[in-house]
Each structure stands twice: as C-alpha cells, then as structure tokens.
Amino acid sequence: MTRTLSFRDALNEAIVQEMDRDPNVFVFGLDVPDHKRIFGSTKGLVERFGKERCFGTPLSEEAMTGMALGAAISGLRPIHVHIRVDFLLLAMNQLLNMVSNFRYLSGGTLEVPLVIRAIIGRGWGQGAQHSKSLQSVFAHVPGLKVVMPTTPNDAKGLLISAIRDDNPVVFLEHRWLYDVSGEVTCGEDGIPLSKTNVLRRGKDATVVATSWMNVEALKAAEILSREGVEVEVVDPRTIAPLDDGPIIESCARTGHCVVADYDWSFCGFGAELAARIMEKCWGKLRSPVSRVGFAHVPCPTTRCLESEFYPNAVTIIRVIEKKLGLKEMDLSGESFYTWESRFRGPF
C-alpha cells in the first residue's frame, strides 16, 4: 500500500513511527520544536511525544554531539538534527575523533545507535556557508554510515533503517527535495542501507548520481530518450558503506558513465566513484568516467554565479552527447527546474 507524500512528510512519518515503536528514540537539535519544525519535518513530535523526547538546544554543536554520543552508548537512540550541514563543521571533532571510532576502540562492546540528520543544498542565495554537502568528508573516515535519499519513499525507508541501525548514521537531506512528492509505502518496513538503487533503466550510458543530482539526471534522461538515447540512472543512496555492485554492473553494460555527485569533485565521493568504476570496469568502458560536480570555488550568493556554480540536467546532457559523439541538442524549448519556476525564497 502506498500513497503520495512529500519528502518532508515522508521523513516526518518515519520519525513518528519509530518514536512510537521505540521509547528510546528521541529527537533534538536547534529549532527542532519551534513553529517552523525544520521545514516541517519534525512537526507534531513535541505534541505527541513531549518535551522529553523532542527538544531544542543552545547553540553548542560540539557539546550536543558529544551528548548524543553519550546517550547512544547509554542505550538511547538520539536523532540529532541540523538545519544546515555546514554547522556540523563545529562538531567534526566529536564526529571524526569520537563517534566514528568509539565502538572500534571499545573492542566492539559499545554500540552507537545515533542518527545525525543534516540538510544540504541550495535555497535562496545561501552562499558559501550554507551550501556544503560534506558527504565525502564523513565517508572518508571509517566508522560513519552516510545516507543520501532522493525519493520520498527512500527518505522514509532509509530513515527508518538509519534509526534502527546500531551504528552512527549521517543522513543528508537536500532542501529542494523537501517539496518533491512521490509514492510512499504505508508500512513500518525500512529500506536496507547500503543497497544501490536503479532509478531508471537504460542501455546507452549510466549516470551515477547522489541526492538532488538524481532529479537532474532523470530530467536529462527524459530529454535524451526523446532523441533515442537511453540513460540508466543509478542512485547509491548510501554513500558509505557503498554497495558498488549495481554501479559496476551498469557501467560495464552501458560502457559510458557520468558521475554526478552533489558536491565538489576534488577528493570527493565523485572521485571515489570514478576511480572505482574505471578500475572495476577495466576494459569494458568506451570512454573514461566523466565527473560532474560543483565548480571548485566557494558558493557565491548572486543568482547568476550560483547558477554557474551548480551543475544541472543540461550539464549532464552535454557530457553524454560528447561521450556518444552526438551533436548538441537544441534545449531551448525545455523547461528545467529553477528557483524561479518552483522554489520561492527565502529558504
């Protein structure tokens, strides 16, 4: 059984269900219980579960992350929420020096069932300090699981699994996805972490994309398919630990691959994918893996430069055309996702 839900409501449903199921689950973080409710994703929680299980905090990211770790090793299951992933840079010490290795150093006796939800992505001129993604930083250091859902159904199912997981999970949600709707299952089943998903089948080229870039990739695939080019879109969903089987299979089959990671490419998850695919598909690719990512600069505020900073469906189309030796399509009649057409500021 499914029904249509927005990504935001899917997240909310996952949390409500898990808090109902398990009294050890609690949600906290700046702004979590205020009237805006983290863009609606924490709505209803404080009313239903009380202030004990849903509360705000002072601005103290490092200490609050340490507190979450302390609570997790004491048998609770915290969900710590950050309205921008950039603020986690204040908690990197707890995350990369403590949370990621506490279980390992305990000889496997401690469990760290901790979820860190953080919002990534664009808004309305977010600028250099509200636009990072950081998935590759979290994934680089062993001991953290890193999840990036794209569809509303994945948002719900993967968040359920993240909450039930006995390990620390960084859960990265793109701001623009919040308004996307889709079919979401009604039940209480989680979707397993570390299972790569094929969002669209195709035989001519593979796009491996993360988070919002899947929306752009699907748009590119739709346009290209009108020209007879069938693009496969593969969504790893979990960045670490990575299930690369379906990715390798797809790239080996299509022979062409574009990696579209929602991040800077340099030393990023995009680089990891490209390196891995070219190694494991050795002899089977007809072109080198191409990487599409942010411009390698801090994100500027002004719209005209911000639009240059972010890659999109057009970028992907142009790369695939080049790979396949096609000439550039006329895209002037197409309507692409823009702030102007869909997202109204300020956040």
Binding site: L30, D31, P58, L59, S60, P300, E308, P346
Partner: protein, 318 residues
C-alpha cells in the same frame, strides 16, 4: 548635543529606511539573498560605532546591514550587493549575509553563529603589536554566547590583554529560542566580570547612552589593558529571516513588541531633537535626503550589470 543626536538619527534612519525598502521590494524576487533585518535594533550598532573611531575594526554577523551602512555610509554599494551586482564591493558573492568593507575597517561577517568573534582577537593582536591604539569590536547576538568559541575567545582576550570589545547585541532570541531555554545561568555579566574583563550592560534604546557606555569601556580598556564586554539588549521587530512580522507564530507576543516600540530608538532620538529645539524641517530634510539617496541607490543597483560567468572562478586565491 543636538549635533550628535542629528548624526545618530541620520545613521539609524538610514539603516531603518534601507531595510524598509528591502521589505517593500523583497516580493519582487530580485534580491535573491536571505535577509536578516535589524529593524528595531538600530541603536546598538549605531551607538557602538559612534564610540569607535573610523580606524577601529568591526566584525559582524549575517545581521549586519546596520554595520555596513553605519560604517560605509554607502547605500549604493549596499544595494548593489543585495541585488547581486558587479558594481558592489564583493561583486554579488557576499549577498546580505557576508557583507564587509575592509577599506572602512569593517573586516567581515559570517552566517555561522559566533565565528567572527575570534577574528576580532586577531585584529586586536595586530593592533597591540603595532601599538596603534586601535580597538577591535566583535558584534554578535545572544545566541553566540552559547558557543564554545565565545568562551575560548573571552578567555584568551583576557589572558593576552587584547584591546577587544565584545558586544553582545541581545534581542533575547536565537531564531525563536529565548534565552531561558538556552542558558544555565541567570546573568552573563555576573560571569564575565569574573574574567579579567570590564562589563557593562544596558537595556537602553538610546544610541547616545550606548555610545557613552562604549566610550567608557574603551577608556577603561586603555587604562587597564583588560578587554570589555558590553551587553546591550534590544528588540527584533520582524521575523528572524525574511521581512514579515511574525507575532502570530506564538514564540513571542505582540505586547512585548508594543512595549519596546514605545522606546523605538529612532522615534526616541527624533522626539529629543524636536524637544531640544531642532526644527522639524531640519529633521524632515534628513529623512528626505535619505529617501533620495536610497531610491537612487536602488535604481542604480537595478541598472548595474550582473557579474559575468567568468567571475565565478576568480579570487579563490591571491
């Protein structure tokens, strides 16, 4: 006295009217940057900056339209930046949240709470080494004192006797979260004064009062070598980010607003000017000048070109 008040009035009114113009035009969807308005809070920035000399350095936050306008007195470059145009100082990269004007000693701002506080220590350290007698002021919200970096910075400044002013512009809120939900103590002054630091506190909305307190703090700082912490309370008239009132949201009452509104800093100084014998015409003339300046700044900004795509990759490195 009335000269000083005229100057204070002019600065506050410039800030207020500039932000009101943002409110009027924001729905046009041309200012594509989140705005954190300081309407209602103008006395703090204007008072503090009045006490500083133009060579002193200032650091701010994402809510620093006031600092920018008070320091530069340049609404043209302000609106150019808000509209994201290449004629602005930062050529649109900064937007509303990252305003700065190093040429005017306004060294920078940040959209991550608390992060510019230690930069003031660095500027003060440079001043100290150069023995130039300058003061570096960090202006930050009450939310910033929750962050560890505030305490680290306070401790170090007191230890190293840096010529720093810590200015807490306390509007009682971090977004929608009031102080009592964030503080495990009753009085921040009571704590800070036990560091080797001078402390002053005020609830006044009169920039002259705040300026005097700041001046006093600076001279104490100069005498003793100890930094100063100024805790100035104020009231944010509109929502945290954006242009609207939000008294229906439930986290604060309209009554609290009405209370503060009676002491609106601009009305307060205006009243005093008129009562002190300044002609209404003189004051109105200031208003009209500001009006003209702002309208022309906006018109110019809207006509200015956007930065070319080639600008994207410039200036990452020197």
């Amino acid at each position: 006295m009335s000269d000083r008040d005229l100057a204070l009035y002019r600065k506050m009114q410039l800030i207020r009217r500039a932000e009101e113009k943002i409110q009027e035009r924001y729905s046009e969807n041309e200012m594509k940057t989140p705005v954190h308005l300081c309407i209602g809070q103008e006395a703090v920035v204007v008072g503090v900056l009045d006490a500083l000399s133009p060579e002193d350095q200032v650091l701010g936050t994402y809510r620093s339209h006031g600092i920018y306008l008070a320091r530069t007195n340049d609404p043209r470059s302000f609106f150019a930046e808000i509209y994201g145009r290449s004629s602005a100082h930062a050529r649109g990269r900064a937007g509303s949240m990252h305003l700065a004007s190093p040429a005017h000693g306004f060294l920078g701002t940040s959209a991550v709470v608390g992060t510019t506080i230690p930069l003031a220590l660095g500027a003060a350290f440079a001043n100290q080494r150069r023995k130039n007698g300058r003061t570096a002021a960090a202006i930050f919200g009450d939310g910033a004192i929750d962050e560890g970096v505030f305490w680290e910075s306070l401790n170090y400044a007191c230890l190293a006797r840096l010529p720093v002013l810590f200015v807490c512009e306390d509007n009682g809120l971090a977004i929608h979260s009031p102080a009592e939900e964030r503080h495990g103590y009753d009085s921040i002054e009571a704590i800070v004064e036990r560091f080797r630091c001078h402390v002053a506190r005020s609830d006044s909305t009169d920039p002259a009062v705040l300026s005097d307190l700041t001046r006093e703090a600076i001279s104490k700082q100069r005498e003793t070598g100890q930094p100063a912490f100024l805790h100035f309370r104020c009231y944010r008239y509109v929502e945290h980010v954006g242009i609207a009132e939000d008294f229906d949201a439930g986290y604060r009452t309209r009554a609290s607003f009405e209370e503060w509104k009676k002491r609106d800093p601009i009305q307060l100084v205006r009243r005093r000017l008129l009562e002190g014998g300044v002609e209404r015409k003189t004051v109105d003339q200031i208003d009209q000048e500001i009006e003209r300046e702002l309208e022309s700044a906006i018109a110019l900004a809207k006509k200015a070109p956007f930065p070319p795509a080639s600008d994207l990759e410039k200036d990452v490195f020197a």
